[in-house]
Subunit: 204 residues, 2 copies
DNA sequence: TCGCATTTTGACCAATTGGTCAGAAACACG
DNA sequence: CGTGTTTCTGACCAATTGGTCAAAATGCGA
């Protein structure tokens, strides 16, 4: 498989199955904890067949990360400089929390990777993501300077949005254990809390 | 080594060296990614000698986690129901952030474990930690009811404090990569941001 | 210094795991 | 059908890794 993109129907189906299985296994066990046997079983293929489509375990992981990166940062990319500052920021917060709810595996995949020093995605963070953050921070800075939002450090504001929203995906077990007997679905109350919290933070 | 606590001077020295090395290795690579050889080399002992002091890799990990758990939740335990609500909460926030700065390895150790479903510490979370959170949440609730702090869900408030402060330790690489060229020490600005953020959230 | 207990180690083992390979099976198509 | 290509597999391999063990080295009190 040295072709860049899947061509035949079989290739499409199998690479998709591998990516799905890999997301499951890698997000649950981390890179080192995941085994080719686990991914093979989960995808319904044999181990040698896995390696027919991808040259190595690391190649699967890299392909997975780079394929998901764009989706993951899409909400920030969508932040509109022309829109109303408060509305734009709050809907960014909402969408980020929604992503934690809808794609917890993706969140954990990145969390696993970054907590361990991002050995396999440092480049895309320090280049692609940094460039995007630089761009959007400038916008937040103008909004802040113009008194449209409170005077806060734009980068740390973004960190806090990531931290709070992704926490609900990454630390899901802990949250559910602690909320046990109090709330059925953490995300219901989370949505309300996160909304009011950030509204207070960014309102001038 | 079936003795509960180290007795001789040699035992004290070596178990301490093992714990220190284990913290280093486990927090950096996660449980599966850490190897006995790595821990052995880092502690200056031979692998069989490691296993003279601890029966297994898992035993080292468990001992490490349970030994650190109490230190980790100490700041919350110190929250004083008699003190001034705003002051108490803000100093809890400050101490939590300080711990992220002073003990990032401990933070990452727990993060690694919880992100992967806390397979080796679910009990202490769902029992010890839950009990503590239940107790402190009740205090926050009275403060909230009495109008001493804003009306917020106490448990989610705690989650947000954990999320934001620990984010600076757990996602350290990402933060430094993004801040590169803008801030030398992330924690300086972090302290200011986190402080004002939570002040806004909890002020009635 | 003697003698016993503690500590340390080299050699070794079995299981796991990422990866290879030759050939079989399935498929596409003239 | 026949044939060339794609897909798939069982058998196998070498490296890693958690753990064992008998024996050697060391520590230490009397």
């Amino acid at each position: 498989m040295d072709k860049k993109r899947p061509r035949t129907r079989i290739q499409m189906k199998n690479t998709a199955a591998i990516m799905e299985a890999a997301l499951d296994i890698f997000s649950q066990h981390g890179f080192r904890g995941a085994t080719l046997d686990l991914i093979a079983k989960s995808s319904g293929l044999s181990k040698p067949n896995l390696l027919y489509y991808f040259p190595s375990k690391e190649a699967i992981h890299i392909e997975l990360l780079s394929g998901l990166m764009e989706t993951w940062i899409a909400p920030l990319r969508a932040l509109d400089p022309q829109g109303d500052p408060i509305t734009e920021l709050m809907s960014y917060v909402d969408r980020k929390l929604q992503m934690s709810q809808d794609y917890p595996r993706e969140s954990r995949l990145f969390a696993n990777e970054i907590v361990q020093g991002a050995p396999r995605m440092f480049i895309s963070i320090s280049e692609d993501l940094k460039a995007l953050v630089d761009e959007k921070s400038a916008i937040l800075q103008t909004w802040s300077d113009d008194g449209k939002i409170a005077k806060v450090n734009p980068r740390h504001l973004l960190f806090s949005i990531w931290a709070l929203t992704q926490h609900y995906a990454d630390f899901d077990v802990q949250i559910r254990a602690i909320l046990d007997g109090h709330e059925e679905d953490p995300f219901e109350e989370a949505r309300h809390f996160v909304h009011t919290a950030f509204l207070r933070i960014i309102t001038p």
